[in-house]
């Protein structure tokens, strides 16, 4: 179900832990699966569980507990804006308004063309550089202004 490349990445995660502790690799494996598939379907989660020889229910528990896993399809570009207090003080509210206005959607929604999903995030541990957002979980963009947001959105295919 997953590509050979993804499986190789999961194997690299597995090598970090003692041989009898395969389950330790589940967070990494789910991330890798989500990266390839765009989101985590039941099938993907069960595949990962099977690959790591752990009960499927235990993998669901993990997938539902950590909030960067997407359990339903999202747009090609997921933009998660930190709105926590330090970022808010540094202008995240204005960026939130701008993002929603420009895309015509609210937090938790996806544009009709499937290009963007907007999400509200908690502190990302980079507050001094706020306002800031994550693009598809892995790429941070900081010191956001309405202008830089426009540019960023245009660059996202």
């Amino acid at each position: 179900m997953l590509s050979a490349e993804s499986l190789a990445q999961i194997d690299k995660e597995l090598a970090k832990y003692p041989p009898d502790q395969k389950q330790s690799a589940v967070m990494g494996a789910l991330r890798i699966a989500q990266n390839e598939m765009g989101w985590l379907s039941r099938d993907s989660i069960e595949f990962v569980a099977h690959y790591l020889a752990m009960p499927a229910i235990a993998a669901y528990e993990v997938a539902t507990f950590y909030n960067m896993y997407d359990l339903a399809p999202v747009g090609r570009n997921k933009v998660t804006l930190c709105t926590n207090l330090p970022c808010q003080l540094q202008g995240a509210d204005k960026i939130a308004e701008h993002l929603q206005g420009r895309l015509g959607i609210g937090f938790g929604e996806t544009t009709a063309d499937g290009r963007y999903t907007l999400k509200e995030g908690e502190c990302m541990g980079a507050c001094g550089h706020g306002p800031l957002c994550l693009h598809n979980n892995h790429e941070m963009h900081d010191h956001l202004t309405p202008e830089s947001v426009d540019k960023l959105l245009d660059e996202m295919k």
């Binding site: 970090k16 967070m27 896993y69 330090p86 003080l89 995030g121 541990g125 507050c127 550089h129 706020g130």
Partner: protein, 426 residues
């Protein structure tokens, strides 16, 4: 300046070099020398722990627990595996220092963890890295590769015959995993729900084995202490508060950022370094140690020095050293609402007082903010807070109460105004 000349910067000194994160910069300035010396001389673990105790290094993750003492809790003659774990799950609003250690001085953290592994008799170490900083997770893994290739990590380190390896574990969005036992559960591939303590990790930690967990900045301070001696580190700060510390300052200052300064530095000096509050505004309030620390009004904060003891005497805590600055434009009700939402959202849900209580706190603060508050709401908030404190498995419950109780205590008038007039005082 190099690591050879004691300087007030312990962790972020590499920023004065053009390639701060490189192995070459680190080794050209004394990096990995402490490790080499320890392995060459086979320094006894007790001697290392004694230096760390002398240094008065206190945990940089929030609780300020003396590191030397924590290290001495690890069982000496345990027959099986032991582990060292680094906590880079930095997600406490306002805190962004550990990310900069990974960005700008990854090798000092590696050296610190290897020395910890040697001292504590561990077979391996894990660094748990906050989900949202994937780029630093990747770059730290690259630094591990460099260290392995240079013989500082892996099998037969520097020809000593001793094996020890390090790995990065990537989180995926759960603040509670910063709590040390939730973090261990998470490394084991489970939901990040804190464990009952005791047993403490020193006896029952990762995979049920003795484990020592320290914050990133704590572990990155170790090589400095061993190169210059515990006494030199102590003298950087003040008694019982050894060393420099990274202060992450955010909010309404002109230059938010990280400033690594000696413990005991007046808050006023830090504020000045950060460019002061924005033009045309005055300082209103400061949260001195991350969002869980009680807020302090401007005048109280201006009289504080930045160390564990001074801030705790003022009624708050130094915590992780995350200083959130608010000027006179801030509505304290709205600010508290955001923080209360955070704890509600992040509660792991296994203790009823925390799971339900954080929801009640948020909903009440929210309705006050929306102009639907009731006169009895403020006392209700304090009452709920009292029922959470002390009745939960981990400190997240109490962390949710700290902001509520202190915002209401110091800015009660603003809350009352909101309830009565259904709008902001500011």
């Amino acid at each position: 300046m190099s690591l050879n000349t004691p300087d007030t910067q312990v962790c972020l000194w590499t920023l004065r070099h053009s390639e701060p994160a490189s192995l070459a910069t680190y080794t050209a300035n004394g990096g990995y020398e402490a490790l080499k010396k320890i392995l060459a001389e086979k320094t006894p673990a007790e001697d290392i722990i004694a230096q760390v105790k002398t240094s008065a290094l206190r945990g940089r993750g929030g609780a300020g627990f003396p590191t030397g003492l924590k290290w001495s809790f690890m069982p000496r003659n345990f027959p099986g595996d032991k582990y060292v774990v680094c906590n880079t799950d930095e997600g406490e609003p306002g805190t962004f220092k550990d990310r900069d250690i990974l960005r700008f001085n990854p090798h000092q953290l590696i050296e610190g963890m290897v020395i910890a592994g040697y001292t504590l008799g561990a077979v391996a170490g894990y660094n748990y890295i906050h989900g949202e900083i994937f780029e630093q997770y990747q770059s730290w893994e690259r630094a591990l590769e460099e260290a392995r290739a240079a013989g500082f990590l892996g099998k037969n380190i520097l020809g000593s015959g001793w094996d020890f390896d390090l790995h990065a574990h990537h989180g995926y969005g759960a603040y509670v995993c910063g709590e040390e036992t939730a973090l261990l559960e998470s490394i084991e591939g489970k939901k990040g729900q804190p464990r009952f303590k005791p047993p403490f990790p020193a006896s029952y930690g990762l995979y049920g084995k003795p484990t020592t967990i320290n914050n990133t900045e704590t572990l990155a301070s170790i090589p400095w202490i061993l190169r210059h001696g515990g006494q030199a580190f102590l003298e950087l700060g003040k008694p019982n508060n050894g060393g420099s510390k990274i202060f992450s300052i955010s909010g309404h200052v002109n230059k938010p950022g990280n400033y690594e300064i000696p413990l005991g530095t007046p808050f006023a000096d830090l504020l000045e370094m950060a460019g002061g509050v924005r033009a045309g505004h005055t300082l209103k309030a400061v949260i001195p140690g991350g969002s869980s620390a009680p807020v302090l009004p401007a005048d109280v904060m201006m009289a504080c020095t930045l160390d564990f003891d001074s801030i705790s005497k003022a009624g708050s805590m130094l915590g992780s050293g995350a200083v959130i600055v608010m000027d006179d434009s801030v509505c304290m009700v709205k600010a508290l609402q955001r923080l209360s939402y955070f704890y509600f959202e992040e509660s792991c849900g296994q203790c009823t007082p925390c799971r339900e209580g954080t929801g009640w706190l948020y909903r009440i603060v929210h309705r006050i903010e929306q102009g639907q508050g009731r006169p009895e709401d403020l006392d209700e908030l304090l009452r709920i807070g009292k029922n959470i404190g002390g009745n939960t498995i981990c400190a997240l419950g109490e962390a949710a109460v700290g902001p509520v109780a202190s915002f209401v205590k110091h800015f009660r008038k603003e809350f009352e105004y909101h309830i009565k007039h259904k709008k902001c005082l500011v």
